[in-house]
């Protein structure tokens, strides 16, 4: 047991908590800088506490590696991590995401033309979105082989239903008055679709797209647990766990976390550009 680490990290987290308390209850609490400062300091504090507990209590690295060890491993194996990232994220998740989005979008436009179909498909789609679809992974791995194609297929199925349901909902979001206005302009179906209904549906569509970003990454990683070539984030996680090389596992998780939040952030950024008119995008109060 190493008391210097323990006490040092405890003192750090206490100091950070004190500073955060002062900032959060102080005068400048609504400024952007303190909104940024407080959560970042909290995260840093947690990392310090983690490091201190691992070092101080001498936790073996096969149970929980220290953040410094994880970071060292990350820097040391960027090459492997990059190969895994390309295999899982770019080839598996991203391609599946694009295909699934296009498919869901096409089906949504079709369904939207028939009221009967919409009423039938919406409950089924909602039902499917709540199911553990990830279980379809072993079947698709059997059909499409071990490489990225099967992962992309899993991702297609996983992202399909949330986007479908949200798009169909969104296409209904216009009001009768607005649609009547388009009718008085003698607008065709496609004109109404592109000029009124699709723009109005965008907040819903982006909601589905944002949910799907996380699902895509989960689908691609978990599908690799059922069989994969000797690269990929899911493959690396399951084999390195077997070897008890947890620093490498945490390095992969770090990559997954960065990729996941960057992907989400990108979609959210596009959303802000596209739906700038929507009340939820207004800044300030």
């Amino acid at each position: 047991m190493d008391f210097e680490w323990l006490l040092g990290s405890l003192a750090t987290i206490l100091a950070i908590s004190y500073v955060n308390l002062q900032v959060a209850n102080g005068d400048g609490r609504d400024q952007a800088i303190s909104r940024f400062f407080v959560p970042v300091m909290f995260g840093v504090g947690l990392l310090v506490l983690w490091e201190g507990l691992v070092q101080g209590l001498g936790v073996p690295s096969v149970i929980l590696p220290a953040p410094s060890a994880i970071w060292a491993k990350f820097l040391q194996s960027t090459h492997t991590l990059w190969i895994d990232f390309v295999q899982t994220f770019v080839k598996g998740a991203l391609s599946g995401y694009v295909m699934g989005t296009i498919a869901a979008f096409a089906v949504a436009l079709l369904v939207d033309r028939s009221d009967f179909l919409r009423r039938g498909l919406l409950p089924v789609g909602n039902f499917m979105a709540a199911l553990p679809i990830i279980g379809i992974a072993p079947i698709l791995v059997m059909w499409f082989g071990f490489d990225w194609q099967s992962k992309a297929a899993v991702v297609v199925v996983m992202v399909f239903f949330p986007i479908l349901v949200n798009t169909v909902e969104g296409l209904r979001a216009t009001e009768r008055m607005q649609r009547d206005l388009m009718k008085t302009y003698a607008a065709s179906y496609w004109q109404t679709l592109f000029k009124l209904r699709l723009p109005a549906a965008m907040p819903f569509i982006f909601n589905g797209l944002k949910i799907a970003t996380t699902l895509a990454l989960i689908g691609a990683i978990v599908a690799e647990f059922f069989g994969s070539p000797i690269k990929g984030m899911g493959f690396r996680i399951s084999t390195e766990v077997g070897r008890l090389a947890l620093d490498m596992v945490w390095a992969e998780i770090l990559v997954a976390a960065i990729a996941g939040s960057a992907f989400y952030g990108l979609v959210a950024l596009i959303e802000r550009r596209v739906t700038f008119w929507h009340p939820s995008q207004r800044r300030g109060r």
């Binding site: 209850n25 909290f42 039938g120 199911l131 996680i237 996941g260």
Partner: protein, 329 residues
């Protein structure tokens, strides 16, 4: 489905007939179309294996030899040998089992085993489903309680709101499920085995949706209502029990549904790294090891039924509770 079941009781015959026309019939037709497409898909998916089997049995196939047929398109083969289409629906290890095969396997491993008094044997899906269900529910309860606790903290403490809330939101964009194998193996290595590791994964997955949803819910009373309570000089805890908590209920149930679905996925994935011993996830993995496609599909459907029942139960609870509170009419 449950909409249709409740509507007649509420609105008499006319409403019942409308519910059938507007809800049940379209859903029924869509499901029927899906099942029909499934049957049609079985034929090209399984035709090569069916032709190989038939050829071994002495039949003459066009073209001859499995190697000849290997690179041909499956649909072309179906048109050249239409008489073997029926064989594709009853294979032992099909690439795509037909719906009735899955149904038969489901019955064989649940109802039939109960009738012979082996309902809890290790080959029964009830046993595996129970293993998964107990981890799911335990994890869901832990995650929900912790999530509600965090939400109460966030709503009442400014510093927690500023420090923790961004992380809670950001964590939803991270594929947390990736750490499942590690949690299982690490907890096993320090002697924690069985239900708890899986439940912890489930708890972790259901924690954040509940926390984020409940923060929204507890903040949903508007300023007017909060002002009213402060003119009554209500204390913080009175405001919480009489205003914030009741108005958070719709959000609570919605996030519980998400949490339950996530919790089940967590339990299933948590069963993968232990080497396919028990639970629905283990059945999926064992099926994929040994090419038992019918078993995979049966486990998949069992998981789907489990999810539907669990989420449906929360939905029912939601409807009853909100009705009693006068929040839906």
């Amino acid at each position: 489905m449950s909409d249709a079941a409740i509507a007649p009781a509420a609105g008499g015959f006319g409403a019942g007939a409308r519910a059938v026309r507007d809800v049940v019939l379209p859903v029924f037709v869509v499901v029927a179309v899906i099942v029909a497409l499934w049957y049609v898909a079985c034929v090209p998916m399984n035709i090569k294996e069916a032709l190989t089997q038939a050829e071994r049995g002495g039949a003459v196939i066009n073209p001859e030899g499995a190697r000849e047929r290997r690179d041909m398109s499956a649909i072309g083969l179906v048109f050249k040998n239409p008489s073997y289409a029926a064989d594709t629906l009853n294979q032992e290890r099909p690439r795509l089992p037909a719906p009735h095969q899955v149904g038969r396997e489901l019955w064989k491993t649940t109802g039939a085993m109960v009738l012979t008094g082996r309902g809890f044997s290790k080959r029964s899906l009830i046993y595996h489903g129970w293993v998964t269900l107990s981890a799911t529910v335990l994890g869901f309860v832990i995650g929900t309680v912790a999530g509600v606790g965090l939400a109460i903290g966030i709503v009442h403490s400014r510093v927690m709101n500023m420090a923790v809330m961004p992380w809670a939101i950001a964590s939803q964009t991270i594929p947390i499920l990736a750490i499942a194998p590690m949690i299982i193996v690490v907890l096993n290595s320090i002697g924690v085995t069985g239900l708890l590791p899986k439940a912890l994964i489930s708890a972790y997955l259901s924690f954040f949706p509940v926390a984020v949803g409940m923060v929204k819910g507890l903040r949903s009373p508007d300023n007017m209502q909060l002002d009213l309570l402060s003119t009554y000089s209500a204390s913080k805890s009175e405001t919480f029990w009489k205003l914030r908590l009741p108005s958070s209920m719709p959000y609570f149930f919605t996030s519980m549904k998400i949490a339950m679905a996530a919790s089940l996925v967590g339990a299933i994935v948590g069963e993968l790294p232990t080497g396919a011993v028990r639970g629905l996830g283990a059945r999926l993995l064992a099926g994929s090891y040994y090419g038992q496609t019918v078993q995979i599909w049966a486990a998949l459907f069992a998981a789907a039924i489990l999810a539907a029942v669990l989420v449906g139960m929360i939905g029912m609870l939601q409807r009853v509770t909100l009705k009693k509170m006068g929040m839906v009419h």
